[in-house]
Amino acid sequence: MDFLRPRTLDEALAMRAERPDAVPIRGGTDVMVEMNFDRRRPGALLDLAGLAELDTWHRTADTVRLGAGVSYARIMAELADPLPGLAMASRTVGSPQIRNRGTVGGNLGSASPAGDAHPPLLTAGATVEVASTRGTRLVPAADWYLGVKRSALAADELITAVHVPVAAGPQQFAKVGTRNAMVIAVCSLALELAPATGAVRVAIGSAAPTPRRCPDAEAYAGAEFADRRLWTVGSPLPAVLVQRFGELVAAAADPIDDVRSTAAYRRTALAVLARRTLTWAWREFRDGGRRCA
């Protein structure tokens, strides 16, 4: 097996074009596990760890351009203010060691339905920036996930960054696992409120072949919030609304029975998470703060 160590992004893109059998590796928290378990024997590894271009983030007024190589630990420490949902999701990733190595770029590259970063990227309407020797393109997160561990990334492309809109309202993330830390999601949920547009956005993970938004739940909540003039009145959420929202989120799931849980439990749990996160986010909105967790 060859170990390719580009010094610049351009060099990395050239190597990527020449060696379609090379698997990109950054933190190694997915790739190395697969190799250790003998599930993957690529012809080469393309090591992106030395590329400073991937290791920075930059914030404009309404967007953070997050380099694909920025670790979860740094997101938690440096970006909790503009990207609270993603920072909350980062806190649920693995162990401290994994969070020091793992990256959102890696989550997007693996495109596992259980990846913790996906739901908040979907609710935020993030855009994935990919590059190749052919040039650069932007792929909306909603178009990124094609199937179980399949993404829109072409064979000669590398993920360079993800552009995440700065939070315009309360964001929440919750993840169910069967132990209290360092666990792969049984199911997860990200939610955000956008008071300016009146949108309620919600996305779920480990609940379908790909992470996905829940359009019916969003439409229902958006309409109910508008009809009941909740954004201006700011009254507590009616129980019936919260309940129905949970049901619609559960209905958006297409879960399976597997070694980690059952389809039925995942639906039950998603409904609970939807009710709770909506309530938390709404409380935060009413309190006028930006975050409550």
Partner: protein, 766 residues
């Protein structure tokens, strides 16, 4: 040919002061914390080959043919062996029954059974060679239901039938009746020992035609006894030396790669090293028996137990391993640490095509305790009694008679330990709103919504040492000499340090008995006499007893010399490297006495001999050497909507007779408690149709530090007059009572019956 393999530092000579009752630092502690300790997977010889194993993908199949030609043709491959290459006379091994083929012979009986082994000059080459072996399997329907496998017409896993052992107890009234009767059916999933250091070792062919094996095991002599007949060698040509052990918990009591490595080393004339991967490790060792239990418990209206009827089916998987002894424990201990006048126990250990099960911490007692303790809680509810009060009214005590008829002849502090955990301060009721302190933890699943608290109690007990007539003993050799002008004791045994701290205990005993500071513990090997296994909570008792006996023999000779030298006859003692008089004044330094020659003594320690239970009634006045008891109080917060649990506190009380090393002892109680909590909440090898679904630490979950609650421990020291220093085995009891206590607490919080462990979130949400 090679000699001793290169190893990194493993210095067990570090000066750590402290005798019996102190908590000196472990000699291997700093090395382990720094990552410098040499584990068996670190073994190395310059000219070594790498072994790899072809395993069956099927739980049950006939083998119509094995074609190794493509594997042998690969450059770098030195040998490919099947059962046909085993010299014999034996081609089988087994701890109790020699029923497991070293390499599959014409059929496979579980997924992961070894079919062929390979030696190659690189681990990757060895893996490729394994992949190149062609096996023609005729797949059969596996036998996977242990209870159904009892039927006369059930398909047979072995020619003699599917029952490995059936044992029973018939005590008292054959048809007892009671005012209040509760019944329950319970199930326990397959727990794994989940040690961190995978199976590994290095076999080195020797000039005398024998083989030297460096290996992580629990019992060097049991390995040697099973290996030699398969190699066609006498026992003394198969020499084992303990390599660094990365945890055991029972999983290293059976052989894994030992015979394979020796066969390949002898065939190739080169050292051969095996290291299992994490996934392979799940197939490379036995697990805890899954069990189904059916209990009926009767009591008087005022809460005195009248009878216990228990029926337990233990799934032993494809080979016997230690199933017979596990059955013995589940039978004789199956009514719990209570006085019960009428007992019917029926316990089956079964063959199936599931993964083989054998020794794991708690060994038959863990399964039974989930049954009898769940029953006591049901009974308490039916009687309207407090669960602790019900237990106190029936608690076993010294002088009580066990269901076997055995009279408990030392402290049985059930009442004392239960009261101790009950009376500890209860943690504050308000769990707060920080998710990290709530069920779901880091997942941020609740800020307090749906959370209910519950408190549960359980008590469990375990036999210490080997039971039912086994000739349990251990051997120690102690040499007292002078190095650099200072007296130094060298303590040699074949007792295995698995992480429990036995080397520290040996040093402490030698310091106490010989009054010296420096005690060297060379690596354990088979040049010493049998020490028995590091299991059954027995090493401090058995090998500790042998070390003490050898030390005392040395001490007697030292004192004889001192008397001859000084003329002082009475009140001599050893302290601070000197012979002292009754007043503590130095009579003569040890170094001076030993200038006449070092003193070297070997002792074999045999505790009282147990005897087998009557096969019809279970009757036996002395089936077990000693009983050890632990009680837990679990406080849990449960998210009743999501079915997630956070253990808030897990308090334990245990009688240890004598705390030889209080620090290590509390560590054992903590570790055992967490292992029991893991069984209650998450630890399960999921097997479906004989196939393991989660052979990884990604999906076989063990508690992390964020799952681990504060664990206050109260240690009682009620000496057992029959045991060295009055001590009582410590390691297993906490694993037994922790799981039922945690489940009792979840039941208290949720009102759910929860008859199966591990408790899954969907069991709580319904």
């Amino acid at each position: 040919m090679s000699t001793v393999p290169a190893r990194t530092a493993q210095d067990l000579t570090a000066d750590v002061a402290g005798g019996i009752g102190h908590s000196p630092q472990r000699p291997d502690g700093v090395l382990k914390v720094r990552g410098e300790f040499a584990y068996s997977s670190d073994l190395w010889a310059d000219d070594m080959l790498w072994g790899a194993t072809l395993r069956s993908p099927h739980p049950s199949a006939r083998i119509r043919g094995v074609d190794t030609s493509a594997a042998l043709a690969l450059p770098g491959v030195y040998a490919v062996l099947t059962h046909a290459d085993i010299p014999g006379p034996s081609k089988h091994f087994g701890l109790v029954v020699s029923d497991q083929p070293v390499l599959a012979i014409d059929e496979v009986r579980y997924q992961g059974e070894a079919v062929a082994v390979v030696a190659a000059d690189h681990p990757e080459t060895a893996r490729r060679a394994v992949a190149a072996i062609r096996v023609d399997y005729a797949v059969r329907e596996p036998v996977t239901d242990a209870a159904a496998a009892r039927a006369d017409d059930a398909p047979r896993v072995h020619p003699d039938g599917n029952i490995v052992r059936y044992a029973r107890i018939r005590r008292g009234d054959p048809a007892p009746t009671a005012d209040v009767v509760v019944r329950g059916e319970y199930a326990i999933g397959m727990q794994d020992q989940a040690f961190l250091g995978p199976e590994s070792g290095l076999a080195v062919p020797a000039a005398d035609g024998g083989v030297d094996l460096y290996v992580a095991t629990q019992w060097l002599h049991a390995d040697q006894r099973q290996i030699a007949p398969c190699l066609g060698l006498p026992q003394d040509k198969v020499r084992l030396t303990l390599a660094g052990v990365g945890g055991a918990f029972g999983a290293r009591e059976d052989l894994s790669m030992q015979i394979h490595a020796c066969l390949l080393a002898l065939r190739t004339g080169r050292p051969v090293k095996f290291v299992y991967s994490r996934e392979e490790s799940f197939f490379g060792h036995v697990h805890r028996h899954p069990a189904t239990l059916s209990y009926e418990t009767g009591a008087t209206r005022d809460g005195k137990l009248v009878y216990v009827k228990g029926s337990v089916v233990l799934d032993g998987g494809a080979y016997a391993s230690s199933t017979p002894a596990v059955v013995g424990n589940a039978t004789s201990l199956g009514a719990g640490p209570y006085e019960v006048p009428n007992v019917h126990m029926d316990v089956w250990g079964m063959y199936t095509n599931n993964p083989p099960c054998g020794a794991m911490r708690g060994f038959g007692s863990v399964q039974a305790a989930f049954g009898y303790e769940s029953q006591l809680d049901r009974l308490a509810a039916a009687l309207g009694l407090d669960p602790v009060e019900l237990r106190l009214r029936n608690a076993l005590h010294q002088g009580s008679t066990m269901p076997t008829g055995q009279v408990v002849d030392s402290a049985a502090a059930v009442r004392e330990i239960l009261t101790a955990v009950r009376d500890m301060p209860v943690p504050p009721t308000d769990p707060g709103t920080d998710p990290l302190g709530l069920p779901g933890g880091a997942g941020n699943t609740t800020h307090g919504e749906g959370v209910r608290r519950g408190i549960g109690y359980a008590v469990g007990f375990k036999n210490v040492g080997f039971s039912e007539g086994f000739d349990d003993h251990s051997t120690a050799r102690v040499r007292l000499g002078v190095v650099g002008g200072e007296p130094v004791a060298v303590v040699r045994t074949a007792a295995v340090e698995v992480g429990q701290g036995h080397v520290t205990v040996q040093q402490q005993i030698a310091r106490t008995e010989l009054g010296v500071d420096r005690v060297v513990i060379p690596p354990a090997d088979t040049s010493m006499g049998n020490a028995g296994s590091s299991s059954a909570s027995r090493q401090t008792y058995l090998t500790g007893g042998a070390v003490r006996a050898a030390c005392r023999a040395v001490r007697d000779r030292v004192l004889d010399r001192a008397r001859a030298r000084t003329g002082v006859r009475d009140g001599l003692d050893l302290a601070g490297g000197n012979v002292v008089d009754a007043g503590g004044a130095v009579l003569v330094p040890l170094a001076e006495l030993l200038a006449d020659g070092e003193i070297d003594e070997t002792a074999v320690y045999r505790p009282r001999r147990t005897a087998p239970m009557d096969p019809d009634t279970g009757r036996q006045d002395f089936a077990h050497l000693q009983f050890a008891f632990c009680a837990h109080r679990a406080v849990v917060d449960v998210d009743t909507e999501l079915g997630l649990v956070r253990v808030v506190e897990l308090a334990a009380a245990q009688d240890v007779g004598k705390a030889v090393n209080p620090g290590a002892l509390v560590g054992q109680i903590h570790g055992g408690s967490v292992q029991g909590m893991g069984l209650a909440l998450m630890e399960e090898i999921q097997v479906e149709g004989g196939i393991v679904r989660n052979p990884s630490f990604t999906d076989y979950l063990i508690p992390t530090i964020l799952d681990t609650p504060p664990m206050p421990v109260e240690v009682l020291e009620l000496a057992d007059p029959h045991a060295p220093y009055g001590l009582r085995g410590v390691a297993e009891p906490p694993t037994i009572s922790a799981a039922p206590a945690v489940v009792a607490a979840i039941r208290a919080a949720t009102g759910r019956p929860l008859t199966r462990i591990p408790v899954r979130p969907q069991d709580i949400t319904g």
